[in-house]
Each structure stands twice: as C-alpha cells, then as structure tokens.
C-alpha cells in the first residue's frame, strides 16, 4: 500500500541493486576482455605489436599443427613446453601435498591456543613480498648459497650441487610460494576429521595402513582435491618463478605468453597460448565440479 509492491518485487529490486555492481564489473572487465582475447587469437599479428583485422587461424596451427599457411609452421616445441608445464605444475602439487598433509595433522592435534599461534606462524611468511621470497630461494640454492655451504660443511657433498636454474629450483620455488594454498584447505578438512572413526576402524581390526587408506584418506580427500586445484592452476600459468629460478632455461607456457606480448610482439599467438592454458584450467575445474557433485548426489541418495 505504501508503495504497492509485494515482498517478491521488493526482493527483486534489492537483488538488482546488489548484483548490478558485480555484473557490470565482471561483464566489462572480465568476460569482455576474455572475449576480446578469443577474438585476437584468430587475428593476424601486427608487425610491431597489436593485431591486423584479418582472419588468421594459423596461430593455433603453430601450436597444434593445423591449420597452417606459408608463414606459420607447426612447431612441436610449443606442445612440449605445455606438457612440461603440466609436469612441473603436477610435481608442484605432489610435493606441496606431501609437505602439507602431515603438517596439517601436526597442527590439528594442538591445543586451541597453540593452534592459532602456529597457524598464524604458517600464514605469516606469505605476507612478505612474493618476489623477494622468490629471490631468497635464488640466494639459498645457488652454488655458494646457504644450502650448499651447509651440505659441504657436514661433508654430505664434495662439490656444490647445481640446484639453481633447473626444474628442481622452479618446483622448490613454486612449492614454497603455494604452500598456504595447499595447507589451508587440507587443514580445514583434517581439523574436522572425527577421530572416533579412526578408533572405530582400529577397533574393527584394520591395520594402520588400511585405516589410513580406507578411512582417513577418503575423509580428507575433499581438502586434498581443493588444495591441489588451487595450487595446480596458478602453477600452470606461472612465469615469474621459472624466469628467476629456472634461469630462463626452464620454459613454461607462461614465459612464452609473456614473451609473445612483451618481446616478440605476437599478441595473437600469446592469446592463443593463453586460451590453451585457460582451456586446460576449465577442464580441471569441470572435472572437479562433476566429481564433487557426483559425490553430493551419492551423499543425498
């Protein structure tokens, strides 16, 4: 009567008000840019950067072998770089998982006071500047660095190990910077773990390994899956870590993209590579969505 509107129409009004900022934001500065990038990937590179507005699907030909023209030849190296990026990202996930999983159990068994203090300690390093943290690993891993000095002084190695400028260094650096992304989801899951289930399994005669594989692991799997995805995705597209710790000898697709845009002035090719990464990310995310919704459906049934 005051305005002649029902509860529903009032709600609709409020909803519009609440949703319009994000809609405008993501529409204008996320979806449209991604769309433009898709368009660019099908255009001819301009001689000095930018694009020529000519239909040019050959950027993809260069990567996957089809279609091709006189100027673009199939270079299997781009796929092999992509595969090695997948490998490095996967190894990063595996190592950070191996490091964080036991740590999550360690923290989850603490008293409340100690727990929040240790969690604080674990999160704190990640407030330091990312680049400086990466640089610190360069200092640690180099032949005259702290780790080599320590190894030599305890007589473990005679010659300094060549750790810097290798896939190893890249993986160490990425594991380091992504540790909280792996740790927090796993920890959130481990903390909720009901230990009476572990005792029940024990009581029902399961061996420690069986208990771990059949009770603890399945119950903490959502955290593992979440953490793995959150680490895998930025690791796949990373170019900062390989360019510093890989000595530019370890190539990841991210480096190629950066170079296409800022060095070799081939924007469409860079856009095509970026879409390749995007596509693999979407695949991984969809896989996880399907998996978890199936798990939910199973839970509901």
């Amino acid at each position: 009567m005051i305005t002649g509107k029902t509860v529903q129409s009032r709600k609709t009004q409020a909803l519009l008000l609440l949703l319009s900022p994000i809609t405008i934001l993501l529409g204008a500065f996320f979806l449209i840019p991604l769309g433009i990038m898709v368009v660019y990937s099908f255009l001819e590179p301009g001689l000095y950067g930018g694009v020529e507005w000519t239909w040019y699907p050959y950027n993809y030909g260069r990567i996957i072998g089809w279609p091709l023209n006189d100027y673009e030849t199939f270079e299997p190296i781009y796929l092999s770089i992509f595969l090695s990026s997948l490998k490095i990202a996967s190894l990063t996930v595996i190592f950070s998982l191996l490091i964080c999983y036991p740590a999550a159990f360690w923290v989850s068994r603490m008293s409340e006071r100690r727990k929040s203090f240790v969690l604080f300690l674990i999160t704190l390093p990640f407030f330091a500047n990312l680049l400086v943290r990466i640089y610190a690993w360069l200092l640690l891993l180099r032949p005259t660095g702290f780790i080599n000095m320590a190894l030599q002084s305890i007589g473990l190695v005679a010659q300094p190990l060549d750790m810097l400028f290798s896939s190893f260094a890249v993986i160490v650096g990425m594991v380091y910077i992504f540790t909280p992304f792996m740790f927090l989801p796993i920890y959130a899951n481990v903390e909720k773990l009901d230990y009476s289930l572990v005792r029940a399994s024990q009581d029902l005669g399961a061996t420690p390994l069986q208990t771990f594989l059949r009770v603890i692991l399945p119950l903490t799997l959502p955290g593992i899956a979440g953490g793995s995805i959150i680490v895998f995705i930025p690791a796949l597209g990373n170019f900062i870590v390989p360019s510093f710790l890989g000595g530019s000898k370890v190539q990841m697709t991210g480096n190629l993209i950066e170079r296409s845009f800022l060095q070799s002035r081939d924007w469409p090719f860079g856009a095509a590579l970026a879409l390749l990464i995007m596509a693999s990310v979407v695949l991984v995310v969809m896989f996880q969505v399907v998996r978890s919704s199936r798990a939910q459906a199973r839970g509901a049934a």
């Binding site: 000095y48 270079e75 180099r142 810097l164 000595g247 530019s248 070799s264 002035r265």
Partner: protein, 344 residues
C-alpha cells in the same frame, strides 16, 4: 569497524587527489631502462627547474614499445635503442624535438647519429652507447679475451656461464661466431647461429640479466653482459673484469626521444638541453660507464673511465661492433629460433 573502512576510503580518495594535483604543474615523465640514468641528475634537474620528475623503467625495447602502443600516453621522454627509435619514428610515435637546434648540440658526437630515420638529429638526442661483452670473475678465469675462451670454459665447467635472456643479443653472438651479420635476414644463416647456440646450451647455466651478483659471488664465472658492468669492475678491479671479445660483439645505442602527445614537451626539451651540458653528461657516464656521445664531456671524466678499453675502445675494436637494425617481419624467424633454443 565501519568507521575504519570509511576512513580508509577517505585516505584513498585524498591520495588520489594529491596525485592528480601534482600533475597540474611543472611535471616531467621519463620512461627509461632500469639503472640507465644517474639519479643525481634527476634531482638536480628537479631542483633547478622546479619540475616534478617521475621515472618509470622497462627492461626491453619491446616491453616499452608494447606499453607505449598500449596507450601509456602520459610519458614525455623515452630511451629507445637505435633500431627501436627507427621503428617508433616510422610508427609515428615520436615527435621532432629538434635537439639539433638546441644549445649544446655542438657537443654531440655526430658519429652517434646512427638512426636511419633521423640522420640529422631532428627527432632524438643520442644518449649513450656501449658494447655487449663478457663480465667475468678473475679468480675463476684470470684472463678472458674471446667468445671462444668463454665457450671453452663453459665446456669444461658446465653451468658456470650465463648469456643474456634476449633473443637478438644471444642469437647475435651465434651469428658473430658463425661469421654472419647480426642483422641477417637469411634463414640459413640464422639456422646456423641457432645450431651454434644450441651446441653451447648444455654448458650455459642460464639466460638472464642479473649476472653481476652471481659473477661477484663466484656462483657464475662469466656472463654475457653490457658494458655498464664496468662500474662494478672499477669498484672491484681485483675480482672482476669486462672484455669486448676479439671475435666482435654487438653494440647498442640509445637515443632520448620525445613522444608524440607528450604532456610536458617544454620540460622535456629543457631536460634534453640539461643532458647535453658536458658536466652532466660526464656525471651520467661515470654512473653508466657507457660510451660517451658528448665530446666535451670526455675531458671531464676520471682517467680510469677515459682510458678504459671497454668504454672507449680503439678504432679496430669499434670496427668489430655491430648495431641492431629493425628486421620487420623477419623478426619472427629469430623468435622461432629463440623459442627452440630455450625449449630443447
């Protein structure tokens, strides 16, 4: 809590206002390579002309070009290498500042007018030049003279040398070693250069720019580097050395150019004149340890710079230095070769 957010928003808007206010009066925006100007000069210029100078930096010509093309139109002066100077002039990104009509032009070495597009210096002011050679650690390699020695050392000590992460510089070394021009457009020659670098690659520790700390600490014995590294050599002459290899080397030269649509072109022109003053040119060279383009400044330099064979090479050595030219579409051949080198 809400009050805290409001206050933060307030602070943000005030900051935004002050940045905009600062741009209202006496401003100059420079877009230069990192570490490529003596900061004291900027301070001195600011004080003398009451101009607020901002300096942003880039790492490659292409990065700078990309950003200028991307609409970073607020800069006044840029420092492109000569071939990029040509490209930018062709693309209409520069405007003629006529440094050749400014006081102090008489000090400029006319041999430094290397641009094809700008032979008279109507557009840009030559800034500095230098060779790209090898910086090495004398404790590990007492005496280094040539690329041959460099690669032999690498063969004996894999991983102990670095080359620049720059496709033209590093392929350029390959071209020099296989006897071609660094501006070759011949795919076969480029292929040979690629093969040469590929052959060396297992022994090369990394492709990177930050070699000074690594060479100083001995993590790396020698690194492909710019003549600017001589600054460190002079501070640490017993430990470090810099050499222009016998086989020849690439050289670079940067010019100072006024951008089309520069918001503060008058201050930019003042800055060009300021740079041409011999005492300023000398002060800058001390810091950059680059080749001097200001003949009047040479006499003001300290002796160790004046006589340094890397900074001021003999005519025979100069003859072996090659400068990059714009390759147009053929750059793609280099890009492919470089992608393959870095991957395989």
């Amino acid at each position: 809590m809400k009050r805290m957010l409001t206050r933060l928003a307030g602070v943000a808007s005030i900051l935004l206002l002050t940045t905009q206010m600062a741009s209202a009066d006496g401003k100059l925006s420079l877009y230069n390579w990192g570490d490529y100007i003596n900061p004291e000069l900027i301070d001195a210029f600011s004080k003398e002309y009451k101009v607020d100078v901002t300096l942003d930096t880039y790492s490659t010509n292409e990065e700078m070009l990309a950003r200028i093309q991307a609409g970073a139109s607020g800069y006044d002066l840029v420092w492109p290498s000569v071939h990029m100077h040509d490209i930018m002039q062709k693309l209409g990104l520069l405007q003629a500042a006529h440094p050749n009509q400014m006081p102090g032009w008489e000090n400029i070495d006319k041999a430094a007018l290397r641009s094809h597009e700008d032979p008279q210096g109507d557009y840009c002011l030559p800034y500095a030049w230098g060779a790209v050679g090898i910086l090495y650690n004398k404790k590990l390699i007492p005496d280094l003279k040539s690329w041959r020695q460099f690669f032999d050392y690498a063969k004996a000590n894999p991983g102990k040398v670095t080359m620049l992460d720059d496709l033209r510089e590093t392929l350029g070394v390959g071209l020099i070693m296989t006897g071609s021009s660094v501006n070759s457009r011949n795919p076969e020659e480029i292929e040979k250069a690629e093969a040469f670098i590929m052959q060396q690659k297992p022994n090369i520790g990394a492709f990177r720019y930050d070699v000074i700390p690594l060479v100083t600490s001995g993590d790396i014995a020698a690194g492909h580097y710019y003549v600017g590294g001589v600054l460190n050599v002079l501070q640490n002459p017993d430990l470090l050395g810099f050499v222009i290899p016998e086989e020849g080397a690439t050289m670079y030269q940067e010019d100072v150019c006024l951008l089309e649509g520069a918001p503060n072109s008058e201050n930019a022109e003042l800055f060009m004149q300021f740079l041409m003053r011999p005492e300023n040119a000398a002060k800058n060279s001390e810091r950059l340890t680059n080749g001097v383009v200001n003949t009047a400044a040479v006499s003001l330099l300290p002796d160790n710079l004046k006589t340094n064979p890397s900074i001021n090479p003999s005519p025979e050595v100069r003859a072996k230095l090659q400068i990059f030219e714009d390759l147009g579409k053929d750059l793609r051949v280099y890009t492919r070769a470089w992608d393959r080198i870095k991957t395989n």
